[in-house]
């Protein structure tokens, strides 16, 4: 190792040189968008929520801000991961695997856009309901819109990710090998779908809610929820799991001991990203089931998911940056 350290100075690693990022503007835009959602959420009259949890309005706003700050952190981490991957894909522009990495980066950009749009829709819903003659009706309309927008973003995110994984495998002359995993995957998804359907069926606030504090989860008849929300979500998650399998297969079957070592961080990050976003979407869909639980329980779940998800995107960014280091060393 001493020999390496001794001669390391001779090697110029361009990636290690300090330089100004041309992408700083995207971080600024994201910060402004985040400020927009925070200001919207603070403008909402939350006295009923404050009463429900025995909090003053000031305490509630403090909690909202405390929850929004990790939100900014995760937005930035997602953007950092997407830009790092995109920058790497651009650096290897003429290679076979470049397009695969580009699609993975596009999928992360789509996830981020979906999260920002979801935040805005949620806050606009609260504001619109506050000024409406029939708040419950307005909330229901917004819930329907939000659910379908989320489904569309989930389909797009995992679809792009699957395309990326497929292109990466094609770059090493392989195809997604499902032979051994098909039965457990399909069985797992059948169980997940059945549980999901059972939870929705069992959810009293699925179509409508008599409690003005609880917004209906879907605001649509059961059969329409299955057709337009459940099935597309299950399809999106299935694509996400297939993409994950593809990434793992690429990691195992690509050549290069060091390349695989560097790529491992990216795969671990992607595994956490896919599983946690699926879990998050499932929890969001069934939010009214835990609406009656105590506040600390809900906060606990959200905080843990935020922390692990931020870590996942940092791992993806680290992996991509290390791959980029290979490309910039000379």
């Amino acid at each position: 190792m001493a020999a390496i350290n001794h001669t390391a100075n001779k090697l110029t690693m361009a990636a290690e040189r300090p330089r100004r990022s041309p992408f700083w503007l995207t971080y600024v835009v994201l910060g402004v968008l985040w400020l927009g959602t925070v200001s919207l959420s603070i403008r909402v009259d939350d006295s009923t929520t404050a009463n429900r949890f025995n909090l003053s309005l000031l305490q509630l706003h403090a909690i909202q801000l405390a929850l929004a700050l990790p939100g900014l952190l995760i937005f930035m981490a997602i953007l950092f991961a997407a830009l790092s991957l995109w920058r790497y894909a651009r650096a290897i522009g003429h290679s076979d695997e470049s397009l695969g990495f580009r699609f993975v980066a596009y999928s992360i950009f789509t996830l981020l856009t979906g999260m920002v749009v979801g935040d805005y829709l949620g806050n606009i819903r609260q504001l619109a309901a506050q000024h409406a003659a029939d708040p419950q009706r307005v909330k229901t309309i917004f819930v329907i819109i939000t659910n379908h927008v989320s489904v569309a973003f989930a389909l797009l995110t995992y679809g792009l990710l699957l395309r990326g994984a497929w292109l990466l495998l094609r770059s090493i002359g392989r195809r997604l090998d499902m032979a051994k995993k098909l039965v457990p995957t399909v069985a797992g998804f059948a169980a997940l779908t059945a549980t999901y359907l059972w939870l929705i069926h069992d959810n009293a606030a699925s179509q409508m809610s008599t409690d003005p504090d609880i917004t209906p989860t879907f605001g649509l008849p059961y059969w329409l929820v299955i057709l337009t929300v459940v099935l597309p979500y299950v399809a999106a998650w299935f694509m996400g799991v297939l993409a994950l399998m593809g990434m793992h297969q690429y990691h195992l079957q690509t050549t290069g001991i060091v390349y695989r070592l560097v790529f491992r961080k990216l795969v671990v990050g992607m595994t956490l990203f896919i599983s946690l976003t699926i879990l998050l979407q499932l929890l969001t869909q069934l939010s009214s089931l835990y609406a009656t639980h105590n506040l600390s329980g809900i906060l606990g779940i959200v905080v843990v998911i935020y922390i692990v998800l931020t870590y996942a995107f940092m791992l993806i960014a680290q992996g991509a940056r290390k791959l980029h280091t290979i490309e910039k060393s000379y």
């Binding site: 190792m1 390496i4 001779k10 090697l11 695997e97 290390k322 280091t325 060393s329």
Partner: protein, 84 residues
Amino acid sequence: MTMAIDKHYYYQQVVHVTEQFLGPAAERFVRRQIEFRLGKPPETIGWGDIPKLKETICVALGILAKDQTIVDQAMRKFDLIVKE
């Protein structure tokens, strides 16, 4: 013609060894090393260029992998090209 084939041979050997460590990134990496360190077209390298390439490539592998075993393994493979 024979000279051209020989020079191409060494380039291919270096790429082949590096691929075992850097996978899909190997060829791009080797081309940059040759162009920057040796200042010549990649396919024209000869037997005498291998030691210098071995040093720079192994240093880079050490920095990336932080594992001396991998560096030693790469050095042995480059030595084999020189001995051939």
